[in-house]
Amino acid sequence: MATEENFNIELTELEFKYDGSEVKLSKFVEFAQANSPVKRVEVSGWDHWIAF
């Protein structure tokens, strides 16, 4: 873990990821809306993984 002196959230991806195959999108949306989000975005597009 980075110390407070050198920690930079803008250069850090901190996340938990879960298999969503058992989670209904409609339930997720219901939960997300009920918790008063400040912003919502629906977006789609391609991600390309480029390697050496």
Binding site: I9, L11, F28, W49
Partner: protein, 141 residues
């Protein structure tokens, strides 16, 4: 190279991203630098040419549909992943610490992620369901 891949996101806000694992056992905490690109001017062929001059080439691509909700300190995402033939290959839920919130330590940010995880128990999200492998680790050729 200290990294294994570059990700080019083409849709929404176009960007080039480098991620580097901080811990071998999981991908919960990674170095991540997003380089925003002008989405109006950038074309895939430009990126392909640029990275080819650096010795890189595409390994795989996926199409993602994302439903993203932002809160004060974290955002949550439900996304559906499709392969290059547009066949669905997975669904994911993520809880991520916002990069524009002034967290002072990783521990402070992780505490907010765990608090959201607890709330999401009502829709079936549990700590036991956390995934350890990244998209790169799952789909690379």
């Amino acid at each position: 190279m200290p990294f294994e891949f570059i990700r080019f996101r083409h849709g929404g806000v176009a960007e080039l991203t480098i991620k580097i694992k901080s811990e071998e056992k999981n991908n919960n905490n990674r170095f991540e630098l997003d380089l925003p690109l002008s989405s109006k001017k950038i074309a895939l062929w430009m990126v392909e040419k640029f990275v080819s001059l650096l010795g890189f080439k595409e390994n795989f691509r996926v199409f993602k549909y994302c439903d993203i909700y932002w809160y004060e300190k974290v955002d949550i995402v439900f996304y559906i992943i499709y392969n290059k033939d547009m066949n669905e290959v997975g669904r994911r839920v993520e809880i991520e610490a916002r990069k524009d919130y002034p967290f002072k330590t990783a521990e402070e940010a992780l505490a907010e992620i765990k608090a959201m995880e607890q709330k999401m128990a009502e829709i079936g999200i549990t700590p036991q369901m956390r995934m350890r492998r990244s998209m790169w680790e799952m789909f690379k050729k």
